[in-house]
Symmetry: C2
Subunit: 118 residues, 2 copies
């Protein structure tokens, strides 16, 4: 999320890579927690604290960062209720819901092939 140097090969490569629709899509769900978060949210709205409980070792910082990134990318909608203590709910956008069947297939792939290599 931080500003990047604009002249590095790292950045050139990133630009090149994002031009491809496929890598563009994969980048959206990259990172350690995003796919897991999306999977959980497929079942419906969840509060920050509920999501946190789903992942035993995630830190609040990480969860916040990932949710913010997902929001930025238009995959998650964030609703804040003006209450105390605060209540914030997260839900998938249509765009993210479209990942459903794809995730299903990826998951099947994982299930089928994880045994074949040790």
């Amino acid at each position: 999320m931080a500003a990047r140097k604009q002249n590095s090969t790292y950045t050139s490569n990133e630009k090149y890579i994002v031009e491809c629709d496929l890598t563009y899509a994969v980048n959206k769900i990259g990172g350690r927690w995003k796919i897991l978060i999306i999977s959980k949210l497929e079942k419906g709205k969840m509060r920050f604290g509920e999501l946190k409980k789903e992942f035993p070792y995630i830190t609040e910082r990480m969860l916040t960062l990932q949710l913010r990134a997902l929001e930025q990318d238009g995959l998650v909608k964030r609703t804040v209720y003006a209450e105390v203590p605060p209540r914030v709910e997260y839900e998938l956008t249509e765009m993210a819901a479209a990942f459903g069947p794809i995730f299903q297939q990826l998951s099947e792939w994982g299930g089928k092939h994880r045994k074949s290599v040790n």
Copy 2:
């Protein structure tokens, strides 16, 4: 590929994450170049040098690393011919070929949604 400390939260999380078939699958194709390499190889066998030319800014080191990882994961088959100068060919395994239709869909997702968010 380097040895990791076995006691970090980073590692605990990784273990947890890999237990999920979905993230297991996504991890196989994670990283900057793997999907692109697989895409190219879908068209057929390629030599190291040919692959290199496909990606304007990839370094030899990166290409080697990614190919080795793919080989490790059983996604790519590497064939060395005993010639001078050396000739090495890479091709997808069945396991990797099974990604074909999934990549197709991800690519469509990318094409459809990249306009909606700037």
